[in-house]
Symmetry: C2
Subunit: 340 residues, 2 copies
């Protein structure tokens, strides 16, 4: 069976319509015949269902400019997994924005009114703007043509931790941390601020605070540093010296998490900015942290390679990977591995 290509649309006759569209969800009815997106035609050529498009067999058609080869690889993979799906970019498929393939639930097709996934196809070397993500599935094709699916979402991040630190605890600003001698009993145990340097039985004798914790507590009037000038200025300056602009972004996200009842602690060991605990009653009865948070600057573009690394690492420690997009406000973006 043969077909023709014109203006980016492949057309075939009545028999093709019956066999490809009606029976298997390819393309769209076109009078008595059927219209096909180039990727659909490539798949039919690949399967041997179509013999040629304008005289081109599968090899010639795939190597031609008409058919984007990454899209073909993902289309084929999803067909192999038992889905019917439609490429966008043709006028009979709705353009949802940032979507290359509209995937229907298993057992459904383009004639139903239901969508399982909206898929965007990217090479592992592409850069994907953070702003584009949140309601698409990324299909990342690596250099050896293997495909990883990453589902993105815009989650709500909030918790139930309820602790207010007491006022005016004294501390000392060292190189890049703050030491609190004889801290209030609950500052660590209930508030999960800092890390004990040493303890006498149950009692924390010296508490080490990170600069971001210290800056937040100074702003809450909960910490007083014996600096020569303004304490807030001193700790912010120190933070910017060791981390640059990143310190301000991290402090904004740290504060937003604390205000939302979530306790952030360093995520260093996981390569993230923070790991978070949604509901801290006391540190001695702490459950596992739920989220890994990475703070990204306004206008950030993700390298799929880095995204995959973060998601894999978070999955390996049973946490959810969340990105804090810092623009005017803070937006949360999650990503996790999907097996369609």
């Amino acid at each position: 069976m043969d077909a023709t290509l014109s203006s980016g649309v492949v057309r075939a006759g009545r028999q093709a319509r019956e066999q490809f569209h009606d029976a298997r969800g390819y393309g769209d009815p076109d009078g008595e015949g059927v219209r096909l997106a180039p990727v659909e035609a490539a798949h039919l050529l690949y399967r041997g269902d179509l013999d040629a498009v304008d005289g081109m067999g599968f090899r010639e058609f795939l190597a031609s400019a008409a058919c984007p080869d990454l899209h073909f690889l993902v289309y084929k993979d999803l067909r192999d997994r038992g889905f019917y799906l439609s490429p966008t970019g043709v006028d009979w498929v709705e353009d949802y924005g940032q979507t290359d393939l509209v995937v229907y639930p298993r057992g459904k097709g383009p004639w139903d009114d239901e969508i399982a996934y909206r898929v965007r196809v990217v090479s592992e070397r592409a850069t994907v703007p953070a702003a584009d993500l949140g309601d698409v599935v990324l299909a990342v094709v690596d250099e050896e043509s293997e495909i990883t699916y990453l589902e993105t979402d815009r989650p709500d991040v909030s918790g139930a931790t309820d602790y207010g630190p007491p006022g005016d605890t004294p501390g000392s600003l060292l190189d890049d941390r703050v030491l609190v001698w004889d801290p209030p009993a609950d500052l660590y145990e209930r508030g999960f601020y800092g890390q004990p340097l040493d303890r006498d039985g149950e009692t924390v004798e010296t508490l080490q605070l990170s600069l971001v914790e210290a800056a937040y507590l100074v702003r809450q009037n909960a910490l007083v540093l014996a600096t020569d000038g303004d304490d807030e200025t001193a700790v912010l300056d120190r933070g910017r010296t060791v981390e640059g602009d990143r310190f301000d972004r991290r402090l904004r996200v740290y504060s937003a998490l604390r205000e939302a009842g979530v306790v952030p602690k360093t995520g260093y060991k996981f390569g993230a900015d923070f790991r978070t605990y949604a509901d801290v009653e006391s540190v001695s009865e702490l459950s596992h942290s739920e989220l890994l948070v990475r703070v990204v600057p306004d206008g950030h573009g993700f390298a799929p390679r880095d995204l995959a690394l973060d998601v894999r690492l978070a999955g390996g420690v049973r946490k959810r990977m969340v990105f804090a997009l810092t623009a005017a406000g803070i937006e949360w973006l999650s990503a996790e591995r999907l097996t369609p």
Copy 2:
């Protein structure tokens, strides 16, 4: 018991020498008395063994410029783990270069002639030149003062894979991969080149090669592409278009691994450049890959955060993390988690 500080050395009397040096490995004999590095003095103050150094108690001494607080944290941690150790930077401890703390085997001390670890102390925000690593243990102190130990080494990377591809297999250069139609039977199965697009039973009908695989095979005269000009130029140009300079670095490392009998495949899913197989007999009897390889440019500096992430991820999948330092030649640098 009191001590005095002068020119970066703390001095105390005979009783201190007996109690601190002779019994517990602090400092160095100094006539009848003992000389101590500031970090050692801080630890003795912290324990209450010393009362004051020039009138300063532990808090004042740690907050003073005399004592680097990161070094103190690591010193204390290693003492807590049961080691005797000596800070460098004083004239009675050999300067090994890139070393802040010389750690003796458990049960041994500065009077023995044996070293367990040479430790370099870094903040998680520091940048560590790749060239400095290879025979030190990095003690990375995170912002909440937790310490991660990373052992670095210069391993030999070689394998026993023995396969030479046949000459002049034809292929087609697509956007960022190469397709080989009807490839030689062993190219995939024995050589582990490419990824099958489809197979007919045991037979691979179409093989997809990455650009780096294709460039290597073209240089071996094993692959012929139907390009208009020189095949090698065409595939290198394509690689540089999608990856920039990184493509040349990766190709150099890919080639070095192949020449050493090691099979590199993409490490994308692990956030690395390659995963490697030291001994491929056939793909159907493949064992797990052993190394994750990340290619770094000449003069690269590591962020300890990224290093920890790589090492953690490699550990999670039971592989060894190896960095390929690309300067005049290629040097291999490994890093793994250490629990002293």
